[in-house]
């Protein structure tokens, strides 16, 4: 028993040492807490933060949670960052409430808190007595609406499948609702046959697309709340030989999706500018001062093959 206990402790010690060695971060003036760097969207945002910090010659440290659902771990990371006494805290909370205890501590220490990518709910934050310097991000409803506008420009009749993210996720819900409501407005003849949760998972989205083709062989379009799921659906359509008949629209505009749109595999994606969100967040944080309305809205861009080929839109340089 003693032998295995000490062996287990040794194992734990070694692995925690290894994880520290691999972890990013040094003492920082700008503290950034992200959701998870394993999703290219958040990775691009981290890259934007790094570039802005480097330009301003300011030290920064980035922490993230092991995955997009570990609330407690993100809170712990946040508290860790605070102990280093940063000048400003920029945070992308997994839920509107899981980081509030950390933000309260930041307020008490006089450290400004910035809501990265509109993850917080202003009513809840105010009710808890937490002060946020400003919120920056793109509007998720707007993402859904742009997708609906693109679809309506291609066709005004037919059946549509919506693949949303993890059920209940605010960003996914906003995109789904934005898409559905705008589509009902501008293309009332189109009907949404199903709204199914793809859980942000490539394979699950592929299976959903497959199954929906069973009930709706004359499916005309699929809207997915992120690119990972859109690309999964595309592969399912390719396997079934039905890609030519179905328009697929994704969200995020990550590297893979941009390549797919250029190659004609994906019809369109509504790109957020995570790189821009990250870099502008740092720039504004360092500038200090009041932000009108407490919100900075970063534009989004509909990416289609023609938009990418023409390459004239100034926002394209911020795609990662």
């Amino acid at each position: 028993m003693r032998g295995s206990l000490s062996a287990a402790l040794a194992l734990a010690a070694i692995s925690s040492c290894l994880s520290v060695v691999g972890a990013r971060g040094a003492e920082g003036d700008v503290a950034v807490i992200m959701k998870t760097l394993s999703n290219p969207y958040w990775g691009a945002m981290g890259a934007g933060v790094e570039e802005a910090a480097k330009k301003a010659s300011v030290k920064y440290s980035i922490q993230d949670a092991p995955n997009e659902s570990d609330l407690a771990a993100q809170l712990d990371s946040c508290q860790n960052l605070l102990t280093r006494g940063p000048k400003v805290l920029i945070a992308a909370a997994i839920t509107p409430v899981n980081l509030l205890p950390c933000f309260k501590d930041a307020n008490a220490k006089g450290i400004p808190v910035i809501d990265l990518d509109n993850q917080l709910d202003p009513k809840t934050t105010e009710a808890e007595g937490v002060k946020i310097a400003f919120a920056i991000g793109s509007n998720n409803r707007d993402l859904g609406e742009k997708a609906a506008e693109y679809l309506a420009s291609k066709t005004t009749t037919g059946k549509v499948l919506i693949i949303e993210g993890i059920a209940g996720n605010p960003a996914g819900t906003a995109r789904r609702d934005g898409f559905r409501e705008k589509l009902a407005q501008i293309a009332p003849k189109m009907s949404v046959v199903a709204v199914l949760p793809g859980d942000w998972d490539r394979l699950k989205a592929a299976n959903i697309a497959n199954d929906t083709l069973q009930t709706t062989p004359d499916l005309v379009a699929i809207y997915a709340a992120n690119d990972t799921m859109a690309l999964g659906a595309v592969e399912a359509l390719n396997t079934a030989g039905r890609k030519a008949n179905v328009i697929v629209i994704g969200t995020d505009g990550n590297t893979d999706a941009v390549k797919a749109v250029k190659a004609g595999a994906l019809d369109a994606t509504v790109a957020q500018m995570p790189f821009l969100v990250g870099s502008q967040a740092v720039e504004q944080a360092l500038k200090g001062g009041q932000v009108p309305g407490g919100k900075i809205v970063v534009p989004t861009l509909l990416l289609t093959k023609s938009v990418l080929d023409q390459n004239t839109d100034p926002l394209i340089q911020y795609l990662r």
Binding site: A167, R202, A236
Partner: protein, 324 residues
């Protein structure tokens, strides 16, 4: 360790008879019942295309479940299979993107899977730490390695070997279904008709007496976890083929699905009783459920409730029947 009673007939037939005779009606009954419900609920369910779709959709988890059957029958458990699948998937896709031919990439994936499985087995066997804890650790470790290898991004574009395995057809039947059948047959033969398989079941049943019969328990355990790792690699081949990418974030929670499939199939979590066909049926049950919910366009929140409820019912079926 499970207590099993041995009948007089089995005692006459010996060791082999006892383990080879285990049959569980839980899984087939649940599958039939669920399929009947689904075909009544949706006219699209009972079509050839849809049924083949279910087999394809369930194939990845089913292959994982075949490997998991060995480990659980042997009295252990492997929580790292989802992460190992992701790591193998990334390795394969990266090799193909560097110009390596598909079949060599597949061999490399098998090596990665076997090595990580053997690593699990060696740690568990040598240090005598509960498998739950060790594989919980390698779950994290391997996920991290997969993410580091791929720098967090999916690696796109696999060659025709993978595309054929994931998206092709053989005489009208989708290749993933054929692949799954091959893996299941191989698994069944090894578990029920080889000495190795019988030693596995005996190990899960009663480790002490298995050791006394001269079986090298250390080697047996390492072999079991290596099998699970190899199945994770095979699942990754299917995954990469279907999705045309190696995704380092793939397979999250797949180990739980695989374990559910194994338990529904009638394999005892304590070990000593197990059937590969049961696990495959268990995976198909989960597939039928998911497919049915999609066909009926059941709203998201209700899907979670439905899946959980039906899994619990499926597993308690046999327990309730035995009691009555």
């Amino acid at each position: 360790m499970a207590q099993t009673t041995v009948s007089a007939a089995e005692r006459r037939g010996g060791f082999k008879c006892h383990y080879a005779r285990q049959v569980s009606w839980q899984a087939p009954a649940a599958l039939v019942a669920l399929s009947v419900v689904m075909s009544v609920a949706s006219p699209y369910f009972l079509t050839t295309d849809n049924l083949l779709n279910i087999a394809v959709a369930a194939a990845v988890v089913a292959v994982l479940a075949v490997g998991m059957t060995f480990v659980i029958s042997g009295g252990g458990i492997d929580l790292s299979v989802g992460s190992v699948m992701a790591a193998c998937g990334v390795v394969g896709a990266t090799l193909v993107s560097e110009g390596v031919p598909g079949w060599i990439a597949i061999l490399a994936m098998l090596v990665v899977g076997c090595v990580s499985g053997a690593f699990n087995g060696a740690l568990i066997s040598t240090l005598n730490i509960p498998p739950f804890i060790v594989t919980l650790g390698t779950l994290s470790l391997t996920r991290g390695i997969a993410l580091l290898l791929a720098d967090g991004k999916a690696v796109y574009g696999l060659d025709w070997t993978f595309k054929f395995l994931g998206q092709g057809h053989l005489a009208g039947i989708p290749v993933p279904a054929v692949f799954l059948l091959a893996v299941a047959i191989a698994g069944h033969v090894v578990l029920k008709h080889t000495r190795f398989g019988l030693r596995t079941l005996s190990l899960g049943d009663n480790e002490m007496s298995t050791r006394v019969t001269g079986c090298n328990v250390w080697r047996q355990k390492v072999a079991l976890y290596t099998i699970t790792g190899a199945c994770a690699a095979l699942a990754a081949v299917l995954f990469d083929g279907r999705i045309n990418a190696g995704d380092p974030t793939a397979g999250v929670m797949y180990e739980l699905q695989a374990i559910s499939a194994v338990v529904i199939g009638g394999t005892a979590l304590a070990g000593g009783r197990g059937t590969v066909w049961g696990s495959v049926l268990g995976a198909l049950i989960i597939g039928v459920l998911q497919n049915g919910l999609n066909l009926l366009a059941v709203p998201s929140f209700y899907q979670y409730v439905a899946i959980g409820t039906i899994l619990i019912l499926a597993v308690s079926g046999e327990a309730i029947w035995k009691r009555s």
